[in-house]
Symmetry: C2
Subunit: 224 residues, 2 copies
C-alpha cells in the first residue's frame, strides 16, 4: 500500500463528466455562476450545486459572492495546469478523432461561449477593438477606452450602464488558444449579430453560421 498525497481523490473529482465539463468551462479564467455551469455541464441545478460543493471542498474552486450571484472560478494556475495536462493526455490517447466534419470547422470559425461569441471571428474582433483603442487591454483585464461609448452607440450596441457582472472580460478560446471578448459587452455584441440576422445558431450545437452578407456586415463593423 502506498500513501502520500491523495491523488485519487483529486482525479476522481475531475473524473465525473459533469464536473469535468464545469472545469473545462472554467478554463477560460472567467468565473461563472452555478446556473451557467449547470447549463454548461448539462445537468440540473441541484446536481450542479452538489458537484460544486464537492469541487469546493476538494480545493479546486474558489467562490466569489456578489449579491445573490455566486461566481465560481478555478482555484489557481496549478489547478488549470492540471486540467491542461489531463486534456492533453485525453487528446493524445483519444483516437476517436472523427475527421473534423463541417460542423467542427464551423465551430472553429464562430461559436457561442455561453452568451458571447467565440472562435476565430471573435478572437479577430477583440484584436481589432484593442488595436483601435476602443478597448484597452492589460493582459486579462479589459476596460472600455475613451471612444468606446460613442463607438458602440454608433453601431447600435448597448453598453450596460449598471451591470451586475463585468462589461468586458477576456475569455480564453478553446480552439485558437487566444482570448476573445466576454462580459456583458460580449453578450450584447452576440445579441446584435443574431438580431441583425448576420448569423444563425446551429440547432443543438454551439456553432454560429454567418450568412455571406452577414459576414461582410460583421467584418465591416468589427474588423474594419
Amino acid at each position: 500500500m502506498r500513501e502520500g498525497p491523495d491523488i485519487a481523490r483529486i482525479a476522481s473529482l475531475v473524473g465525473d463528466p459533469a464536473r469535468a465539463n464545469m472545469l473545462s468551462a472554467l478554463m477560460g479564467g472567467t468565473a461563472l455562476t452555478a446556473s451557467e455551469l449547470a447549463l454548461e455541464a448539462g445537468v440540473s441545478l441541484p446536481t450542479a450545486s452538489s458537484h460544486l460543493s464537492k469541487l469546493m471542498e476538494g480545493g479546486l474552486l474558489t467562490l466569489a459572492s456578489q449579491g445573490r450571484h455566486r461566481y465560481y472560478g478555478l482555484a489557481g494556475p496549478q489547478v488549470a495546469g492540471m486540467i491542461e495536462a489531463i486534456t492533453g493526455v485525453a487528446e493524445a490517447v483519444g483516437p476517436k478523432r472523427v475527421r473534423p466534419g463541417p460542423r467542427d470547422a464551423a465551430m472553429r470559425v464562430a461559436r457561442v461561449c455561453y452568451d458571447h461569441l467565440a472562435g476565430e471571428q471573435a478572437v479577430a474582433m477583440l484584436d481589432r477593438l484593442v488595436e483601435k483603442d476602443i478597448l484597452l487591454r492589460n493582459d486579462n483585464e479589459i476596460r472600455l477606452g475613451p471612444s468606446a461609448a460613442s463607438h458602440f452607440a454608433a453601431i447600435g450596441v448597448d453598453i450596460d450602464a449598471r451591470p451586475r457582472r463585468p462589461v468586458c472580460r477576456a475569455c480564453l478560446d478553446w480552439s485558437v488558444r487566444r482570448s476573445h471578448l466576454a462580459g456583458t459587452l460580449g453578450a450584447a455584441i452576440l445579441d446584435k449579430i443574431l438580431a441583425e440576422k448576420w448569423a444563425r445558431r446551429e440547432k443543438d450545437s454551439r456553432a454560429v453560421i454567418f450568412s455571406p452578407p452577414g459576414k461582410q456586415a460583421f467584418e465591416r463593423v468589427f474588423l474594419a
Copy 2:
C-alpha cells in the same frame, strides 16, 4: 453541453485509489508486473488485472511481454507529466498535513519500494556507488562498472548472473525527488540489509528501521 477530448474518462481512470497507486508506483519509470502492482495497490490479483486492462484500454499504460512476465509501464512522458500535475495539486490542496509523525520521518529515511530500498539512505547509496564508479550512470540508465563484480562479491552481495529483469535500474524517490537503485541488484542489497539484521521492516508499513550498529555497518559498506 460541452464536447472535446474526453477528460473525464482519463481522470476517472486515475480517480480510483487502486489505479492511482499503481500509476504512482510506475512513476519511477520502472515497468512492473501485475503481481507487483497488485501488492503496491493493496488489492487482489484479479482486481489488479481488471484495473490494468482498463488502464491499457485507456491508453495510459504500455505492456511489454517477456515470457510469462508481463511488464506494465506508463505510456509515456505525457502521462507521467499528468500524474505529476495531479500529484502537485493533491499535495497543495491536501491540508491534511498531519505533522509528520515518527513513522513518516522513518519513511523518509528508509523504506521498501517493493523489493528494494528507497528513501534518503537509498539515494545516498546510489550517489556513492556512482561516485566510486562501481556503477555507471547515464541519466536513467545504470550499468555495472568494471569493478562491480569484485566489489559486490567482497561485501557479500550476489549479482544475479542471468536475471529475468534488469540488474540495475533508476527508480525515482517519492520523498527526495532523486533516484535510488532498483533492479535485482537493488533487491539483493535490501536482502543483505535485512539478512544481516542491520534493519528491520516496520509491521504494516514500508518503513525500514536501522538499528544503531546496523546503520554504522550500512554506512561503512555503502557510503564510505
